[in-house]
């Protein structure tokens, strides 16, 4: 059972209530990232119900739309206009995967912290990652993956980046990622939330 009312509202797909609650929590002074965490929790439950066949695909889609609307409200609060360029970071969702809500939050957060983010979008071909890494000489590449079936594509992408002999670190992120996955695909870091990603970036650019 979800006790978090915002997580519960997204689980119930109450689009209007989600927006109301997000605004309420912002007004109360809650940190935008805590709000994201609640939303993520609720979406995770939706995912579970989808997996067990209780929810249908259109409800998964709706859940994504609600999240998008919530992010529109949150975005200005996530980006607290830090000026200056701390360096380049390439970010994208792995080939075969079109989930981008989580990735977009990471992008927002990194931009907000003053990094120049090169966002390659979703379902990104391996060559695009390699090219962007070479061109931008980014010291960090972030790859998002939500589908377990895309693990091979992730591994191939990282192999290809390594094969170029670039001196770049790779962080992978997504809901199911853990140390085992990180090791298997050969990434340097992993993250299950956006702020861990930001921490890694700070570490690398310091």
């Amino acid at each position: 059972m979800l006790t978090d009312t915002l997580a519960k509202a997204i689980l119930d797909l109450e689009e209007e209530q989600v927006i109301v609650l997000v605004k309420e929590r912002l007004a109360k002074g809650d940190s935008p990232l805590d709000i994201v965490e609640s939303l993520q929790k609720g979406m995770s439950e939706v995912g579970k119900l989808f997996e067990t066949g209780e929810f249908f695909l259109s409800e998964l889609v709706m859940c994504g739309e609600i999240m998008k609307d919530a992010m529109e409200v949150l975005e200005p609060h996530l980006i607290d206009s830090v000026s200056g360029n701390k360096g380049n970071i390439v970010v994208g969702t792995v080939k075969g995967d079109i989930h981008d809500l989580g990735k977009n939050i990471v992008v927002m957060l990194l931009k907000g912290a003053g990094y120049n983010v090169i966002d390659l979008g979703v379902d990104v071909p391996i060559e695009n990652f390699v090219e962007a890494a070479k061109e931008s000489k980014a010291p960090l590449i972030g790859i998002s993956v939500l589908l377990t079936g895309c693990q091979e594509a992730m591994k191939k992408t990282i192999d290809a980046i390594r094969a170029e002999g670039l001196n770049t670190k790779v962080i992978i992120g997504g809901n199911y990622i853990d140390e085992l996955v990180r090791e298997y695909v050969g990434a340097d870091y992993f993250a299950n939330n956006a702020s861990d990603g930001l921490r890694v970036a700070k570490q690398i650019f310091s």
Binding site: F56, S58, E59, V61, M62
Partner: protein
Amino acid sequence: MLIIGEKLNSAIPSVRQIINDKDVAAVQNLALKQVEGGANYLDLNTAQCNEDADMEWLIQNVQEVTDIPLCIDSISAQTVERGLTCIKGDKSKVMINSISLEKDRIEGILPLVIKHQCPVIGLTTDDNGIPKTAEQRIAITKRLIEVLSKENYDLNKLYIDPLVLPLAVDSNNATMFFQCLTDIKRLFNVKTVSGLSNISYTMPKRKIINRHFLAICMAFGMDAAILDPIDRKIMTSVTAANLLIGQDKFGRNYLKAFRNETLED
């Protein structure tokens, strides 16, 4: 899609009986079942009974168990007036079924509609009877709208019923009706409604024809239907058609009906 529940109609022998018997429980049960089935309005007709007195009796008893808006179905101005008088609550929510270009309805019922600003069903007929062609129906619609506009009536509350004729008589009657739905919307931008079931008159297995007809009407933009909301199959058609014509975001209502186990295939 607005659903007007048709069950409380004295033309149905069993319903006539319960009205004559003053069977309060049976009447209230029929009202509640229609609401539960998804009705947005309940049509009340007592023409085959003691019309005036029974309309009052029916309204009072239905309003005891539900506050769903009612639709007074009568060609008698006196019945409509009496019905409106005993309505509890907002009279401007009561739908009047119906007016037309027939002289006695214009003189008798229209003033009541205007007085209370009720939603009204406008039949495309005049003193010459039901017209044969789509063009004639459009012409009557135009005149009806002129009459209503002169009275400053809010045309958003008008539901034109282009009157279905049986397919058995002419196999083009359905397509002619679809044409009317399209043209009325395009030319006048007012709502449309139908009682549907006339389409299948004298055919076997009428319900099959009725519910497919309904779905096609919805695809042609019909806004309301007078039907039996207790019939799960026709309500399933409403739900599925709403999904198909883009009136059901993310299939919420379809899935809700599925979970409530009211969908019937």
